[in-house]
Amino acid sequence: MSSTLAQADRAVFMQGNEALFRGAIAAGARFYAGYPITPSSEIAELAAVELPGLGGVYLQMEDELASIAAVIGASLAGMPAFCATSGPGFSLMQENLGVAYMAEVPCVVINVMRSGPSTGLATMPAQADVMQARWGTHGDHPALAFCPATVQECYETAALAMVAAEQLRMPVTVLADEVIGHMREPVRLDVTLPQVCRPQVPGDPAGYRTYAPAANGVPPLAAFGDRAIVHANSSMHDQAGLPTTAQPIARALLHRLVDKVSGRQDLVLLQDYHLADAEWLFVSYGVSARCTRAAVERLRAQGVRAGLLQLTTIWPFAAAQVAAAAAGKRGVLVVELNLGQLVGEVRAAVGGAAPVHSICESDGRPLLPRDVISRSMEVIGQA
């Protein structure tokens, strides 16, 4: 991720939601199907205005079940597709996200998170859907989710999500939140973004099988309308896409689906801040990483050797990197805007190497640097 403010003279001033939209279309997204929901609706409005002129399509569906279904259908027809939503809509999408995992359909869901459960505090921020982005749909499946903390990162992670979805033939989530989605910052739009490029289906179309994996474990995807016939199937299926109950096939498919992501360490994006001499390791992501960065700065001014590991990729969880960063530290402090979702992953990764503390809250407002400082000093002061 490139630095933002240092080069603000060559940047444009933009809202996070707009940057998410612009990143997705800059990477090649051309189809959007959504349902209005705060605090993500600006993305839908931009899609409605801009996609038709690009030869793209904006659909406003009857609900979020239909939104993600239409996105999946369009993607199979060859159009790079995405949608945006927030917690309640993300919940409604979960069953059909399972279709995209199982039938291996590239698509992106931008979830601008808000406070829950249920309707909750509909206009207020939270990082409430961290575990839903991992385990929201039933059954074992892979997960890839990015968590931007700046408007610049909104632009870049949305593009990366589109490209990764196509490369891996699976849904990818961008977990923004109300603060990041609605705030405005300078953004450099002239950074080099990756582009969606659906690989050509090799060989004779008559011999094409929808689920015959390439060497990287991902089957090349033809499009509806191609002479290579696509049988997309959400039931357990063989390489031709025919349903099966054969255990060896089921086992191999499920493992292949989950393993698609595990080989892609290049997609695990981390940022570290003052880690080299840190005695206290902060781990955070998204809006909470912003205030933690400020808190780390102020703690260091007070003589506390604090450092931050920011998770820009939240799934797959960077267990090895977190464990390595925690080694030898006096303590690990996990800062998040929920009642403690990712801290369990951190605890499992760190094991007994250092004590792990949770700094978390969810009451409708973002954590402030002074909140993080006062709560971390309760831990640090006792050490």
Binding site: A69, A70, G73, E95, N96, G241
Partner: protein, 280 residues
């Protein structure tokens, strides 16, 4: 293979394709019970596609869950087998992204009109160029014969053993009320009529709805002592002997979503200022 056999059996072969070209015969025998109407509907669709001369790769079959949701297993066209109730939503995305495709959503009464009722009315209203081909056998066959939104009041199913307390949807009336430009009904006892209706529907730019009254001798027939499949088919034939409620029920000129949205795309391309959202 066996194009000749297919052409002979189809009766009226298209110039290039026979119904056999659309069927994934390696997946036969089908999963459906003896006496089920679903195979009759599948054959009628394959014959109508051949008559229309649509190449298999120009066709997408979208299904949900249920007995007729297995139909895509037996087709050589592109296919998408998704979730229960959502076939029309998936199909809407397919058609909107690539309007030149022929898109058929194949659903049962539970899939289309019970769990999926919301998508049905909006597909009708939106006039998306999809053919909704509905096998209505008056109950949930795959899960063992529970009542659906089309189970007639008073009839028996495993979840209405003393008689069904709710009223049934008239699916064609529902589709018409929701704005469908083409609504038709056939039965499993009228396969030639069904083939003609599908042929007609496939020529339309907008949404088309065809309800096929079908037979479930295994569950609904047994629970209501309607006799075997032959008896059930004869009862369907007799029920519609006068022709009332059969054939094309609604037919009006509609542009279809894709043509309407194409106009939006053309206007947007011609007006970049609007595209950039200026003046908002």
């Amino acid at each position: 293979m066996s194009a000749d056999l297919g052409a002979q059996a189809a009766g009226q072969p298209g110039p290039e394709y026979s119904y056999w070209d659309y069927l994934r015969h390696e997946a036969f025998p089908t999963f459906w019970c003896a006496g089920c109407g679903d195979g009759i509907i599948l054959a009628a669709l394959a014959k109508a596609l051949a008559e229309r001369g649509r190449a298999p790769h120009e066709v997408v079959a979208v299904t949900g869950i249920g007995c007729f949701g297995k139909a895509d297993d037996y087709l050589k066209t592109h296919s998408l087998h998704g979730t229960h109730g959502r076939a029309l939503a998936f199909a809407t995305g397919v058609k909107a992204a690539k309007p030149e495709l022929t898109v058929v959503a194949m659903m049962g009464d539970g899939d289309c009109a019970t769990i999926g009722g919301n998508h049905l009315i909006h597909a009708c209203r939106r006039d998306i160029g999809v053919l909704a081909l509905v096998s209505n056998n008056l109950n949930y066959g795959m899960t063992g014969g529970q009542f659906s939104a089309t189970t007639p009041s008073g009839s028996r199913t495993v979840t209405s053993p003393l008689g069904h307390a709710e009223a049934a949807f008239d699916l064609c009336a529902l589709a018409e009320a929701a704005g469908a430009g083409f609504v038709a009904r056939a039965t499993a006892a009228h396969p030639e009529l069904l083939r003609r209706l599908i042929y007609k529907a496939l020529g339309r730019p907008g949404f088309a709805f065809i309800e096929v009254m079908s037979t479930c001798p295994t569950h609904f027939g047994r629970a209501n002592r309607l006799g075997d499949a032959a008896k059930m088919l004869m009862a369907l034939r007799d029920q519609y002997r006068g022709g009332e409620g059969l054939g094309v029920l609604v037919q009006k000129d509609t542009p279809g979503f894709s043509a309407s949205y194409r106009a939006v795309q053309v206007a947007a391309a011609a007006n970049p200022a609007k595209r950039a959202g200026e003046g908002r």
